[in-house]
């Protein structure tokens, strides 16, 4: 496999592998250190993800990170979550780019730039959300209010996209 990877392909694989690890370790300076066994597990899953970016092992690596954040960080709101969000996003975008073709396919520059712009714009949601949630802390509005709002929006988006009939779905 390695002999066919282009330099761009290597760079993408590096980002894929590092993203979940960065997301896991981002909160360490703020006192939220994950256990060693989890770090090892995430590193292994991330390496697997980098090797097979078009497979579902990437979801496993990311879910491990999300799980640790929900169990260990609890209802704290460290700034590192914005960094962690960027790590997961970078890994996802790099894997998406790597899965556009076979390993020998060099990343297409205009496509990479397009995804870079998309990634930056999408990532801006994380600091905005962090600021909003942080500003609401201490007020009567509970944090679950924001969670419920986002969940409803997601469900509506997914339902609309899935149920909206297309010509392909109708077999024409």
């Amino acid at each position: 496999m390695t002999s066919y990877l282009t330099p761009g392909g290597w760079a993408l694989r590096a980002v894929i592998a590092l993203g979940p690890v960065v997301a896991l370790l981002a909160a360490t300076p703020e006192g939220f250190a994950p256990p060693v066994w989890l770090i090892v597990l995430v590193v292994l899953a991330s390496l697997g993800f980098a090797y097979l970016p078009e497979q579902y092992i990437g979801s496993a690596a990311m879910i491990l990170v999300v799980g640790w954040w929900s169990i260990d960080v609890r209802d704290a709101m460290p700034l590192a979550v914005v960094v962690a969000s960027g790590g997961l996003l970078a890994s996802h975008v790099a894997a998406t780019l790597a899965a556009y073709g076979p390993r020998a396919l060099a990343p297409n520059r205009p496509l990479v730039l397009r995804w870079l712009r998309r990634g930056v714009l999408v990532w801006l949601v994380a600091p905005l959300l962090w600021l909003t949630i942080d500003a609401q802390r201490g007020h009567t509005t509970p944090a679950s209010y924001w969670v419920a709002g986002l969940a409803v929006a997601l469900v509506v988006a997914v339902t609309a996209a899935t149920l909206y009939p297309t010509s392909l779905d109708q077999g024409t």
Partner: protein, 430 residues
């Protein structure tokens, strides 16, 4: 039939976002919402861009006929492009086909198409443009394909270096051409000064000689005529490895390129050229001249597949030679039959030249079960026999020359032409 399918990227975004939102909702973890929020948006954007049309793709190449070493572009046509953002193409690698990009993998945005450059490196019939194509919707949510596209059969003509030979043909017999004939006629080459005959042109009168001799004398010239060339290509087997136009040459590579070069040279001079290939299909092109005829000859050469003719033995092949033709046999002379055929043509009074096409480093392909030492010994014995055949041919009056580029035949043809000019002793009844 292929259709749009969700990609692993969409599945991952939705799975991680779903798990994150679910956990945050159940356990009340606002940090997790921030963590997965970008993936939620990416997943939603990919879902919103779900394709609604069925694309059609077709591959196109610019040329159906190429010379080896030339290149063409393989373009992809996608219609409609409304739901397509990115196109991935993977070209099949094939023997003697060079691609750019070299690994055959190319991806581009649908609005900014980039062709794959294809260059056949060896003569023959080649299929180019065989590839697999995958299409991606915006935000990489859905993928169409990959689908396999059938390539296009392209005739790859042997490369031929153009040159102009200065040597006159030994036996010009046609009506008009560039070769000096043995007969007097309306040419430019001085022949003699003779007495005026009725029908001579006035401008041919040599007044100085006429005044001295008290009778009209004219300057006579040799007529200029075309000649006929028969190219006999030995395609009974291919010896040596072929590395394409810029690599090592096999015996058939040498024969094809030499035949192409000779045919081009003589046809450009206005001569008539015929081609006979000794192969299972026995490719044949009759005598003719002109650029269309040259294309026909090169096209037949590109279709040659080596092998032994099934229907007739090599030494009994009718080469359909025209009277006065010059015969050029391109052969590695490893077949006794080819040598016999050359001698048969020679005994018909035709000037025959053998171009030795066996590369110096050629070696036979021996099966893995054969002892390499025995294989080498057998090959050496075969080469010794070949040397004897070549010597016998030379002794019979058939010059043998190795192919050394387009000027190989010049010296030999000049020598044959000189020999043809010599007076011949009659062997009639006394």
């Amino acid at each position: 039939m292929t259709r749009w399918r969700a990609t692993a990227a969409l599945s991952r975004a939705l799975t991680v976002a779903g798990v994150g939102i679910g956990v945050a909702l159940v356990l009340g973890r606002p940090a997790v919402v921030v963590l997965v929020a970008p993936l939620v948006i990416i997943g939603a954007a990919a879902l919103m861009a779900k394709p609604r049309t069925e694309p059609r793709v077709s591959a196109q190449t610019s040329y159906a006929v190429l010379h080896e070493g030339q290149g063409t572009t393989a373009r992809l046509r996608v219609e409609p492009t409304d739901d397509v953002e990115f196109v991935t193409r993977v070209c099949a690698s094939a023997a003697h086909i060079a691609l750019k990009p070299t690994n055959g993998c190319l991806g581009h945005l649908v609005e900014d198409p980039v062709p794959i450059l294809v260059s056949p490196r060896r003569w023959g019939q080649r299929r180019i443009g065989e590839e697999k194509v995958g299409l991606f919707s915006p935000w990489a949510g859905y993928r169409w394909g990959p689908v396999a596209l059938v390539g296009r059969e392209v005739s790859v003509l042997p490369a031929s270096a153009t040159f102009r030979s200065a040597a006159a043909a030994p036996n010009p017999i046609g009506l008009i051409g560039a070769h000096r004939s043995r007969r007097d006629g309306d040419g430019t080459e001085f022949s003699s000064i003779r007495e005026f005959h009725s029908g001579d042109r006035m401008r041919r009168i040599n007044w100085r000689v006429s005044l001295r001799s008290s009778a009209l004398h004219v300057v006579s010239t040799r007529s200029e005529e075309d000649t006929a060339i028969l190219l006999v290509v030995d395609a009974l087997a291919d010896y040596g490895l072929s590395g394409g136009i810029d690599g090592t040459q096999s015996s058939l590579d040498v024969a094809m390129r030499a035949a192409g070069a000779i045919a081009e040279q003589y046809i450009r001079q206005g001569d008539r050229v015929s081609l006979r290939v000794v192969s299972p299909h026995g490719e044949y092109v009759g005598y003719g001249a002109g650029s269309r005829h040259l294309r026909r000859i090169l096209g037949q050469l590109s279709r040659v597949r080596p092998g032994v003719p099934h229907e007739v033995s090599v030494d009994r092949i009718d080469f359909r030679t025209a009277a006065g033709s010059m015969v050029v046999v391109l052969s590695p002379m490893l077949s006794e039959g080819m040598a016999t055929a050359a001698v048969r043509l020679l005994r018909r009074g035709l000037p025959v030249i053998v171009v030795d096409t066996l590369p110096a480093d050629a070696a036979p392909t021996v099966s893995s079960e054969t002892d390499p030492t025995i294989g080498r010994l057998a090959w050496r014995m075969r080469l010794v026999e070949r040397r004897q055949v070549l010597d016998r041919l030379a002794a019979a009056g058939c010059p043998v020359v190795p192919w050394n580029g387009p000027r190989t035949l010049d010296v030999i043809v000049r020598r044959l032409a000189r020999r043809a000019q010599l007076p011949r002793a009659g062997v009639g009844a006394r």
